[in-house]
Symmetry: C2
Subunit: 285 residues, 2 copies
Amino acid sequence: MTKVVQTIAELKAFVRDTKQAGNTIGLVPTMGALHEGHLTLAAQARNENDVVVMSVFVNPKQFGPNEDFDTYPRDLEGDTKLAASVGVDVVFAPSTEEMYPTDGGITIRAGRAAEILCGASRPGHFDGVLQVVAKLFHLVEPTRAYFGQKDAQQVALIETMVRDYNFPLEICTVPIVREADGLAKSSRNVYLTAEERQQAVGLYNGLKFAKEAILSGKPMGIAMMAARDQIARETGGEIDYFECLSYPDLKSIDGQTTDVLLAGAVYIGKTRLIDNMIFNLKENN
Amino acid sequence: MTKVVQTIAELKAFVRDTKQAGNTIGLVPTMGALHEGHLTLAAQARNENDVVVMSVFVNPKQFGPNEDFDTYPRDLEGDTKLAASVGVDVVFAPSTEEMYPTDGGITIRAGRAAEILCGASRPGHFDGVLQVVAKLFHLVEPTRAYFGQKDAQQVALIETMVRDYNFPLEICTVPIVREADGLAKSSRNVYLTAEERQQAVGLYNGLKFAKEAILSGKPMGIAMMAARDQIARETGGEIDYFECLSYPDLKSIDGQTTDVLLAGAVYIGKTRLIDNMIFNLKENN
């Protein structure tokens, strides 16, 4: 039986009782409008914890002034049914006033790693993400929190915050779910025409090509340039970014780098698609 | 028996065991060089919690480039003896490398309320304070954390951070300890000549005068101007600031304000002294 909790007081009472009983808590933060990706996160949380809390909160702080905060889909009843179907215990769905009743002017700045990749076109977005995630971590006190690797930059920044600020919890990343041909699943794939859908897989193919070239020892610059050309050719789209950076710090790769994020964003027609791969540079050595 | 812990791994193991046993934790954050004020905090923590952790860490992030980080007094052995005398269970004394091994570029900005009062002459100071306090809160997971009211702006900012970011703990403020004539105790009082020591109490007298005038219904502007004149006359010093602001938000007072901070800083000779009072505007109504 999934319980919907809308106040912080009720949530904190639930968390206190759960902790006192010695139970672990898995947190799945969402903005609602649940799709297969969210349910995959919740199912993994269900497997690994005694209690699963899913937050459903459209966070105004992570939307820019010209973004779609007002029109973002909201369907708490539908979301609760989906959450129940994967065994979520509590849906925490606070109002904006409940989450942000006061503002003393203290902010979290995501910094350099938020100004690149997807952040380049969304100034302030990741500051707002880190703010709400920090609040949710303090409210739910989870043992583990679940995020999709699809939003790799978001996960990298959250992992960095947890590491550098010593949050007492574990970040669990759930791999990208793909279509049969490799295209990353996305709510936005429905916007693609039949032809664009065929082309779209070119982003995945380019990432795969670059990863294999890099692991086989090709110089990074040459591998990336060849892969970028392949993506442009196969998708027929406009590349927003295509980069290989250290993970989770998102810095240029040097001799010390082990884990890397290979990430791309492409406009195919009017639809912007993102995809990525995270791997260890030494994994085949 | 007071235990000195220097690594995060050992601290976290202690915290985990303490929590699992259902015990409460009181945290007393310090930069060492313990004096009577710190011991008063620790004694109150001892009264109110099962376990008391005192951190002793000279935090480089809260010192400006021209401040005294390198020469700040360090005496872990002496501090540990003093901590033991008031029943502290664990002294957590990490190295700088243990506290800041990585820097992914995510910062906390204390904002507007850090740019006034003592913050006006120490840009970035309170950002560094909030960073280390957030880390300590995540590492120690205290039930209660103890701060002296003497540093009222610091307490106000920490209370604001705890409130706005939903940290799961209680901030306990310990009143200012005063000499017989009312002068706030401070390590810096020893710098005063005999004559300056006599004059120094003028800051306390001015705060008391302003508080009584405000509570008796005098217009704020008139009360503050008269008190400022009195402080200048009695101390013979140079007033750095003398202000009455809402507490803990540190904004201008308006019709909604209930709790206020009355705070002053005065240079008496070369010595900068601070003092303050926090009270409810309606307390005599």
